[in-house]
Every structure is written in structure tokens, then in C-alpha cells.
């Protein structure tokens, strides 16, 4: 019976049109652009509601109207972005149905019910968003405000479920359940069995965090543009603060992201070691050098923004002498992290290198050195945040001196643990060495948690050295936020290529083979051009979305004194 089914499938594949072609750019580029741009919008509309809700809660609890305004402004950006997400989703579905028939037919046979649910939830999500935004001023105070906040929570719940459903489709393509073979009738695969595949939950968690990072970075870029275009000091101060908050959220979530990435990587290795080797040591090995470079840009630019920001904080000058040393650590860390090691090399390249590794740099390319470098970079970035946070205060609690010494000792211990295991890793077997990275990460995370706790306690009743002068930032700081947004977006495209590319010539790993003329997975050069094109399309459309949002704001917020004369807009 199974054999008959297999034969039938084969006959169907041979006699029906399995793939279509797209004019000028080809089918692969068409699918790539539609999927990537849709995903970028989707990440934005899932990430922004998360901290809109958090910001609204801070505003309610702290009775700080700034946060409420911030949350509302985030949400306003979502309205048009939702439409764009839906439009690109529709484009993607049509592209898949007309160019990618063979895998699309297979996936719909497995996942049809979840696709219906997806559409229904997207409907719920959209209308919850409309209610959330348009009800903002109606339910602004008292108990109704909490009800309004509940709508924000509901919006996040719908969005998260929608994302989890879509994630099940793509993770199934990577890691189908082990009992699914090429001869399995897709209609007989139980839906939950297909959804709960090996990489589903790691991808869910990874994307959840990454969406926060991405949303924060885009909002920071939006704020930076509004800062540069601001006409008044008040406006400039608001957008300076908004840019800071967006960047803070993005960098904070970024620090956690690698741990979710490790989990995902481990699941991939456990599912199929050959897939893991393809990812880390096979044809994709150079991708990780590019990734290291991008993350180095993120660390350096994020810290640079903080250091410039200290210029607008009274009292921050006492920390300025330390920033150059922080820069040294970050640059050295970035160099080590970007050192190539497990590269595919041909005989000429090996001969030119004089061996399998570079004579001097080979030792820096191993994981012991890289893990040490990245953990020290995280510690350094945290130290930058700490200095920024403490800049305009002087603690007055009697144990302030002791507390600072304990904090310093925690940093020293964490750095010591990281260095110790980094060096020790050179003298042990690989299997032992891998375990060391857990100790390094735990040391850094413990340091971050306990130092922050001490800092919060020390800040109680602290003497103020002056308020932060929001808005007093040089323009170059805002351009740094643009670089961060572009880099985050590009990095997302690159990691998407890595995740999808490790399937190589399989639509569904070892179950449905790609028999199109685009079956070969392209090299990084081609991929980088596609990623840049997608980022450019996305950012151009986002700029348009923001411009539209600005139009709505101007037409809504007109000062009473000027409305009669139809005068200038003052809505910021």
C-alpha cells in the first residue's frame, strides 16, 4: 500500500506542474522577497505590541503620562504596519500557490486546519488592535484603563498564537517527525504530531525574543528620525527619550537571544547531526563570520550611543575616562569573535595559509576564545548601562561604598570565571569544552542579575546630580540608531537564510526533495544581495508607513487656538 502511494506521488510529481517561473527575477527571488518582507513586517507587528503593553503598564502603575503617550505612539505605528503585513502575506500565499506548487500542496495537505485557524486568529488580532488603539482615549482613566490594558494583552496573545502556528509550518520543513518518510501520505500525518516537531518550541522562543529586539530597534530608528526632524525642544526631548527606550529594549533582549539560539542549535544537532555540521562547519561556515561582524557592529554602536548619551547627564563626566577601556575590550572581543576557524578551504587556500589554521590567529578562532570574547563583550555592555544608569545619582545609603565594592567584585569574579574556563578549554576534550560555555554564561547572567539588584537597592533615596537633559544629543547619536536598525534587520535576514538554507535541496528535510532548477542553495554573495534588497524594500515601506502615521497625527492633533485658522500642526 505504502509503495503504491509512493508511486502515485511520484507519478503526480512527474505529470503535474510542480513549479512555476516568475518574469525577470525568477521564482526563487520572488518567493524570497515575498517571504522575507512579510516576515519582517510580521516581526515588527508582533514585537511592538509587547512593549506597548509594558510601557502602558509602567505608565499606569507609575502614573507617568510619558509612558502612556509612548505606548499609544507605538500602537499608532502598528495600524498601517498591520495592513502591510497582511498585504505581503497575501502576496506570499499567491506566490507560493503559483510558483511553488509541489511543496505548497504538500504543506497544505498536512497543515490545512491550522491555516484556517491562522486566518481566523489574524482576524481577531486585527480587530483587537483597532479596539486597543481607537479606545485609547475613551478608556484612559481608572478601572477602564486596566480593561484597555487587558486588550493589549489579548492582542499579544493572538499575535503569539499566530506566530506559533506559522512557525510550525517552517519548522516542520526543517525537522519533520522521524516517522515521516517520503512515502508517507501527508494527509495521514496527525496535525499536532506535525506541529510539535523538534525545532518548533526553540524557534518559537527565539522568534519571540528576536521580535522584541527588532521592534525596539525599528521604534528607536523612528524616534531618531523624529528627533532629527523635530522643531521644538519639547519634541526633541520626547523623541530622544523614545529612542533611548527603544534601544534599551533592543539591546537588553539581544543579550538573552544567543541562549535561545544555542537551544535551537542543539536541537538541530540532536535531530540530525549532518544538518548541524552543514550549518556550523559545512558550506555555511563563513556565514558565522559575517554574523560575528554584524553583532560586533551592534555591540559597538549600542555602546557608542550610550557613551554619547552620557553627555546629556549631569555627573556622567566622572565615568568618561573609563569608556576608552570599555572600547578596547569591545574591539578586542569583536576581533576574536570574528576570527575564522572551521572554514571550508580548498588546497590552494590551505597552502597559502601554511596549514589548516592561520599560524597566529588559529588559536583565537576556536570556541574557547570566542565564547570568552562574547561573554566579556556582554559584561562590558552591561557595565556601560550601569554607568549610564548611575551617572546622575550619588547613592546615600550607608553601605553604598561596600555595595560598590561588592558590585566590582562580582564583575571581577564573572570575568575571572569566563577567562578561566576560556583558557582551560584549550586543554580538554571538545565534549568537556562545550560544557564550559554553560558556566561562562551562568557567571555573566548571575553578575547581571545580582549587580542590578544591588544597584536598585543602592539607588533608593539617592542624591540627584541633575535631571537628564533629554534632547541634548548630537545628531550622530541618532544616526547610530539607524545603523542599529539596519543591522538588526539585515541580521534577521541572514539568520533566516541560515535556518532555511540548511535544508539544502529539500523542501521538507529528507521527505520532499526540491526538484526545481533552484534546488541548489546559493552562496552567501547571492544571499547577501537578496537580504539587502529585502531590507531596503522593508525600510522604504516602513518609512512610508511612518509618514502616513505622521499625517494622521497631524490631522488629529491640532491645537485649539489654531484650529479655526487651519494653522500649523502641533501634534508632537
Amino acid at each position: 500500500m505504502t509503495e503504491h502511494w509512493s508511486l502515485a506521488l511520484q507519478v503526480a510529481a512527474d505529470t503535474t506542474r510542480a513549479y512555476g517561473e516568475f518574469p525577470l527575477i525568477g521564482a526563487r527571488a520572488a518567493v524570497w522577497i515575498a517571504a522575507e518582507v512579510h516576515l519582517m513586517f510580521a516581526a515588527f507587528v508582533l514585537g511592538v505590541p509587547m512593549f506597548a503593553v509594558v510601557a502602558e503598564a509602567i505608565g499606569i502603575v507609575g502614573k507617568d503620562a510619558r509612558y502612556d503617550r509612548l505606548a499609544k505612539e507605538f500602537t499608532r505605528l502598528l495600524l498601517v504596519a498591520y495592513s502591510a503585513t497582511a498585504i505581503w502575506g497575501a502576496i506570499l500565499v499567491f506566490i507560493l500557490a503559483t510558483l511553488w506548487m509541489k511543496p505548497w500542496a504538500y504543506l497544505t495537505a498536512v497543515f490545512a486546519p491550522s491555516m484556517w485557524l491562522y486566518a481566523a486568529l489574524f482576524f481577531c488580532e486585527s480587530f483587537t488592535l483597532y479596539l486597543y488603539y481607537y479606545g485609547w482615549d475613551r478608556w484612559k482613566y481608572g478601572r477602564p484603563k486596566w480593561g484597555h490594558w487587558g486588550l493589549g494583552l489579548l492582542l499579544n496573545l493572538w499575535g503569539t498564537i499566530v506566530m506559533f502556528i506559522a512557525n510550525s509550518w517552517l519548522t516542520y520543513m526543517m525537522t519533520p517527525p522521524r516517522d515521516v518518510t517520503p512515502s508517507t501520505d501527508p494527509a495521514t500525518i496527525k496535525l499536532w504530531h506535525a506541529i510539535a516537531n523538534a525545532t518548533w518550541m526553540p524557534i518559537n522562543v527565539h522568534r519571540l525574543i528576536a521580535n522584541v529586539v527588532f521592534g525596539g530597534a525599528i521604534v528607536a530608528a523612528y524616534a531618531s528620525y523624529r528627533f532629527l526632524a523635530a522643531k521644538t525642544d519639547e519634541e526633541r526631548a520626547h523623541y530622544d527619550w523614545m529612542g533611548y527606550v527603544g534601544n534599551f529594549i533592543a539591546i537588553s533582549a539581544l543579550i538573552v537571544l544567543p541562549f535561545a539560539g544555542y537551544w535551537l542549535g542543539r536541537e538541530i544537532y540532536q535531530y540530525d547531526q549532518s544538518m548541524g555540521i552543514t550549518m556550523m562547519g559545512g558550506f555555511m561556515s563563513w556565514l558565522w563570520v559575517i554574523q560575528a561582524f554584524l553583532i560586533a557592529v551592534l555591540f559597538l554602536t549600542g555602546n557608542y550611543y550610550l557613551w554619547i548619551g552620557m553627555g546629556r547627564i549631569p555627573g556622567a563626566e566622572r565615568f568618561r575616562p573609563y569608556t576608552k577601556w570599555l572600547l578596547v575590550v569591545l574591539v578586542l572581543g569583536a576581533i576574536v569573535w570574528g576570527t575564522p576557524h572551521t572554514m571550508i578551504a580548498d588546497s590552494k587556500e590551505l597552502a597559502a595559509m601554511g596549514g589548516s589554521h592561520h599560524p597566529f590567529l588559529g588559536a583565537l578562532g576556536v570556541m574557547s576564545a570566542k565564547n570568552t570574547a562574547v561573554n566579556l563583550m556582554i559584561l562590558t555592555t552591561f557595565l556601560s548601562f550601569l554607568m549610564y544608569r548611575r551617572a546622575n545619582t550619588r547613592p546615600v545609603v550607608p553601605w553604598a561604598g561596600t555595595g560598590t565594592i561588592i558590585q566590582g567584585a562580582m564583575f571581577a569574579v564573572a570575568a575571572g570565571v569566563v577567562l578561566f574556563y576560556g583558557i582551560r578549554g584549550y586543554f580538554v576534550e571538545a565534549i568537556v569544552r562545550i560544557g564550559f560555555s554553560v558556566y561562562q554564561v551562568l557567571a555573566v547572567l548571575s553578575c547581571i542579575v545580582f549587580v542590578t539588584l544591588i544597584d536598585i537597592l543602592m539607588a533608593r533615596g539617592a542624591q540627584s546630580l541633575g535631571a537628564i537633559q533629554w534632547g541634548k544629543m548630537p545628531p550622530r547619536s541618532q544616526y547610530a540608531l539607524f545603523i542599529l536598525a539596519v543591522t538588526f534587520t539585515w541580521l534577521m535576514g541572514l539568520m533566516g537564510f541560515a535556518r532555511s538554507g540548511i535544508r539544502q535541496y529539500w523542501h521538507v528535510w529528507q521527505v520532499v526533495q526540491d526538484t526545481s532548477k533552484y534546488a541548489a542553495t546559493p552562496a552567501l554573495g547571492y544571499a547577501s544581495k537578496m537580504i539587502s534588497l529585502c531590507v531596503l524594500i522593508f525600510l522604504t515601506l516602513v518609512a512610508f508607513v511612518f509618514w502616513l502615521g505622521g499625517l494622521a497625527e497631524k490631522s488629529t492633533f491640532v491645537s485649539p487656538g489654531e484650529s479655526a485658522g487651519g494653522g500649523r500642526h502641533v501634534g508632537h
Binding site: W286, I344, S347, I483, Q510, T521, A523, L524
Partner: protein, 272 residues
Amino acid sequence: MWATNLKVVGIVLGTLALYTLIANKIPQVQSEVPQTLTLGANVTPEQLVAAGEKVFNGIGGCTTCHGLGTRAPNLLTDEKGTGPIGARCGKREAGKDCKQYLYESLDDPKAYVVAGYQPIMPVMTKQLSPPQVWSVIAFLESEGGTVDVTASDIPASSSTSTTSTTSTTPGGGGGGGSGGFAGGSADPKAIIQAAGCLACHKLDGQGQVIAPDLTHVGSRRDAESIRKKILDPASSIAKGYEKLAGIMPKTFGTMMSAAQLEALAQYLAAHK
């Protein structure tokens, strides 16, 4: 405001251009779809070497470990003054010339493990077709040595045209096919040998202990259960081997004839 807009556009485009440029400056490696390797009876050593280099750097996945020098010896560079692999292969094992040693390394890699390295090399004769295996040997011989592989080394049944299935699926290559393993023989021992079962399983004192010992498999499973297990390895997982679920290739059932499958199932079921 226009100046600001232009600056923003310049920064965005400049950043994108920088990343694109860097990604295009690094070595470009594309993941190819496995192709049919056709070697005629009059294939020349040069053609074998060229074909072997492609397999070595491509679907063979050899450079994943041998290109590094930490997981496995680097084959293309000098090793302690003994030269690249073509120069040193004939001196590795007493009584084995270069060709024999290289074939053994691909067919039974655990037979001789170079000092200082772990026995992690997979059985490449299970992953690559005979023409691919012999072309790789020719390529390795050419690295500092003399190529003595000829068309006569390649089994007659596969020398004209053989398709490798994948670069990553163990058992996907030579030996199987529509005719089944071992030339379609119904001798279970020949099937076990040709399919490479003993690379993971132990049977009657031979083989590895990576997967369950099959010596008394008949006491745990009947012929039906064994048949099902071969056709669909994930259908049941032996106790204590849950972490290795998925390692056994799914393709064995489609690589042997029904008669072979039946003979193998009965043979193993009789191992009480």
C-alpha cells in the same frame, strides 16, 4: 530637512552596501544538488582526479573535518614533513599500498585510526557511489603521489553511470538501488555486509555497539517487527537507545528487493 533625509538614506544605503560587499568578498560556497557521476570504461586518471576533487570539496563533505586538522588529519597539506596524503598514504600501514590504504579508510575507517585522532569518520562507501569513492581516491593520490586508479577498479555494474542520492544521508549511495544490495543476492550475510549494518550494530561478535546488538534480536522481535523496523526505523525504538532515534537511515527498505527484505527479516528473527 532634505539634508537630514539624504544623510539618513546615505547611512542606510552605505550600511547595506558594506554588508553586501563583505559577504561577496569572502569565499563563495554553494550547496550543490548531488549529480549523476558518469565514468566511461576509458576514463583517464585526469578525469578521475577532477571528478574526485569535486566530490571531496562538495557532496562528499570531506572538508568539513579534513579541511581543519583538528577533527581529522589535513589531507592536502604537509604533515610533519611526510608531505600531503598522496605522498604519505603508502607508508601508513604495513603491507598496504596507497590505493589499498585509501580504500580501507573510506570503506572501513576504524580499521586504522591515525594517532591523536578520534574514530569519528563515517563509512563513506555507504554514502558515496563506487565511482565517487574511486574518484576521491584518485584525487587524494594526486596530492603528492601517483594516480594508479583505473576504470578497472570501479565495479563493472556501476562504472558507467551511478547516481549518488544525497551527501548527507547514510546509506543513500552505492550498494543499493532497484536491484538491491550485494547484486540482489538473497544471502542475508551478504546483504548485511553490503548494507553496512555492522557499522552500527553488532551481530555474532562482529560489528559496532552504537546501535542495539542484533545477536539475540530474535528473542525481542519477530520477523514482522524486524521487517517493519527496517522499513520504518522510527516505528519503534529499542529501550536505552532513545537518544539515537533517527540515526538509522530510512532508506534501507527502499534499497533492497522484497526477497532480500524477507530473507533478512527471517535471518535476524532466527537469532534467538
